[in-house]
């Protein structure tokens, strides 16, 4: 079965549009610019991958969409447009109606995301009844359907079990069931398989892909694993130090990565097919969010950097066929 990524988007309206989102945290040590001006769109039936290493802000972006970031230390600016409404300005009551209902999230650690003292059937039923009018009996029936949807074997028996009785893969399936029970339009999956074994990871990713097609959702998949991206995503945004540095269709990105960070990331992955003696390294470390100055955040570690990179921040430039990149070395060479 050949993989045909779903890439036609220019003639469709995005389900969700993030416009110049900034999430800054005010701390004793200064302002931490976790997300510093990020924009992207999510379309129905497509998976957008957000790739980056820890601290780049990819998780905070997702949490910001659902307004799960506590706003006393954090400040948002920009817009998150969903059905023509800016989610950042919505009152909390309306946000609650959206969370779990129209936009759902699956987290990395299924054990800590599930209530250990409630059976999984009860948890799913509770979510249903929060958003839809149903009796407990009807809700339990729907829970059963959901367990079948996520391919949990023997759902009638499992529905009364507690999270600790399930394996990691099963718990993640339950999380997915919880997220999908109200037929959301958008699913945000934050490193959903990082904590799982590779064989279980393969099952879960296949499940998410299948459900996306069946339910016609838009999916945001956040990960640090380029393999996962290559397998599951249609478009990919690469983040570094709070900014988006490159975005392209998945084929374009792997075929022709433009940003030096993207290239370095790809080559430093000890993939199974490479035989080189030494793994190419990226020297240095990700700058802490407090250290960012006015130049390109990747400047210190980049092998193509020039003086301009240290002093000016590169902007995202379209290099053709919806492939954008923020890098002077690329745009100026090109021009």
């Amino acid at each position: 079965m050949t993989f045909a990524p779903n890439n036609t988007q220019s003639n469709k309206e995005p389900l969700l549009e993030v416009v110049n989102l900034k999430t800054w945290f005010d701390t004793l040590a200064g302002t931490v610019r976790s997300v510093d001006g990020v924009s992207y769109q999510v379309y129905a039936g497509q998976t957008l991958g957000i790739v980056g290493e820890s601290g780049c802000g990819k998780s905070v972006t997702a949490l910001s969409i659902l307004r799960l970031v506590p706003t006393p230390p954090a400040r948002h600016s920009g817009q998150i447009l969903f059905h023509k409404q800016n989610l950042l300005e919505l009152p909390e009551r309306d946000m609650r109606a959206i969370r779990g209902n129209q936009i759902s999230m699956v987290f990395q650690e299924p054990m800590t995301s599930l209530n250990p003292v409630m059976s999984i059937g009860a948890q799913i039923a509770e979510t249903i009844r929060l958003h839809q009018k149903m009796t407990q009996h009807q809700a339990i029936k729907r829970s059963l359907e959901m367990l079948r949807l996520v391919q949990i074997p023997e759902p009638e028996r499992r529905i009364n079990e507690y999270p600790h009785q399930l394996s990691g893969g099963m718990r993640q399936r339950v999380m997915i069931a919880l997220a999908l029970v109200c037929n959301p339009q958008i699913l945000i999956a934050d490193e959903p398989t990082t904590a799982l074994d590779v064989t279980i990871q393969a099952q879960i990713l296949a499940l998410i892909k299948r459900l996306r097609i069946e339910l016609g959702m838009g999916v945001i998949l956040i990960t640090h694993d380029l393999g996962v991206v290559a397998e599951s995503c249609d478009r990919v945004a690469v983040m570094y130090a709070g900014k988006k540095v490159e975005e392209a269709s998945v084929i374009d990105l792997f075929d022709q990565p433009l940003h030096p960070y993207t290239k370095a990331l790809m080559s430093s992955m000890p993939s199974m097919n490479k035989h080189s003696k030494r793994l190419p390294e990226i020297p240095g470390m990700v700058p802490s969010p407090k250290e960012l100055g006015k130049g390109c955040a990747f400047f210190a570690r980049c092998s193509h950097s020039t003086l301009k990179c240290e002093q000016e921040t590169p902007l995202l430039t379209d290099m053709g066929s919806d492939h954008v990149v923020a890098c002077f070395a690329v745009t100026e060479e090109h021009v």
Partner: protein
């Protein structure tokens, strides 16, 4: 295996069972067979990787080799001496040759000690060096693992994850051990930092001739760093061979599925992925016969009854399967 020289490390029939404590009001429960009759060997300056998924027993095996966990039975021969037969005092002396690097760079360093004290601890324990000589050694170790010597007075929380892992490596390197057990040393690190640490370990192996027992679940890293690989499933080694043999020609069905489950970072190459059915079985009630038979695509009647032994199928390629 066909060498006439004694291998550096020989593990024979290593077994670790966990038995729940007996109480008169609790019915007897089956023991958890974390590690069951595991045997392998490592030559000097060689890397053997133990791979497998959670619950396969690879970490328990590594800790048993280090005698951080007391095995139920078996032997661990380091240059001919069975570590498991030693008393506490002699074992402590043997620790000079046998060091470990832990998975969690945050938890494996005492947050209250300066990094130089942490790295110097093995030197304090075993060498009669003066304080000045120790400091010199610490500086040398710092430089060897790629840390700036002036950071020696910093505390662990002032270092990043990758740097902390380097501290752990410096500590393990201090006594120039013959074998280092690496318990998933890069799993908790970012990808770009993983490369740095993996390269460091390989450099140290080349320079000091240290053998590595490398426990990992990331097959990409394993492919890079190993000379030989052993695949574990539910407490057993089900395949053990050279690195190239394993990746180019996996014989055991589980290995085959494991390798194909790894996502390929190339969108045009999303060919047939063989998915594993079902869930890992419970460790306290393992399937009869071949432990893998409940999920194996090749399962036959014999698999349920008889456990296959690890047998030599091809040159230096051992597999535990009735059909391969």
């Amino acid at each position: 295996m066909t060498d006439s020289t004694t291998p550096l490390l020989q593990v024979i029939g290593l077994t670790k069972h966990y038995v729940s404590p007996r109480r008169w009001f609790i019915p007897k429960q089956a023991p958890v067979l974390a590690v069951d009759d595991v045997s392998f060997q490592i030559d000097a300056a060689e890397t053997l990787s133990l791979v497998g998924e959670s619950g396969c027993g690879k970490t328990t095996t590594a800790k048993c080799v280090m005698r951080l966990i007391e095995p139920t039975s078996g032997s661990v021969l380091l240059q001919g001496t069975d570590l498991l037969s030693l008393d506490a005092k002699s074992m402590r002396q043997k620790r000079r040759d046998l060091q470990i690097i832990f998975q969690d760079p945050y938890a494996s360093l005492n947050p209250r000690l300066k990094s130089s004290d942490i790295v110097a601890e093995p030197l304090i324990n075993f060498t009669p060096l003066s304080r000045a000589e120790r400091e010199e050694q610490v500086q040398w170790l710092f430089a060897k693992v790629g840390l700036r010597p002036e950071w020696a007075s910093r505390y662990p929380h002032e270092f990043s994850g990758g740097q902390r892992q380097r501290l752990g490596i410096a500590r393990a390197l201090a006594l120039k051990p013959k074998l280092m057990v690496c318990d998933e040393p890069v799993s908790a690190l970012d990808v770009s930092v993983q490369a740095q640490v993996v390269n460091l370990l390989m450099d140290l192996q080349d320079e000091f001739g240290i053998a590595l027992l490398f426990v990992a679940h990331d097959l990409g890293v394993v492919r890079h760093i190993s000379h030989r690989v052993a695949v574990m499933y539910l407490g057993h080694i089900i395949e053990i061979t050279t690195r190239d043999n394993l990746f180019d020609n996996p014989l055991h069905p589980y290995t085959d599925i494991l390798l194909s489950s790894v996502p390929v970072p190339n969108p045009s190459q999303q060919s047939n992925r063989r998915l594993l059915e079902g869930d890992p079985p419970s460790q306290s009630a393992p399937p009869s016969g071949c432990r893998f038979h409940t999920r194996c695509p090749l399962v036959q009647a014999i698999c349920k009854e008889q456990k296959p032994e690890l047998s030599l199928r091809q040159s230096d390629h051992w597999v535990a399967c009735h059909f391969r």
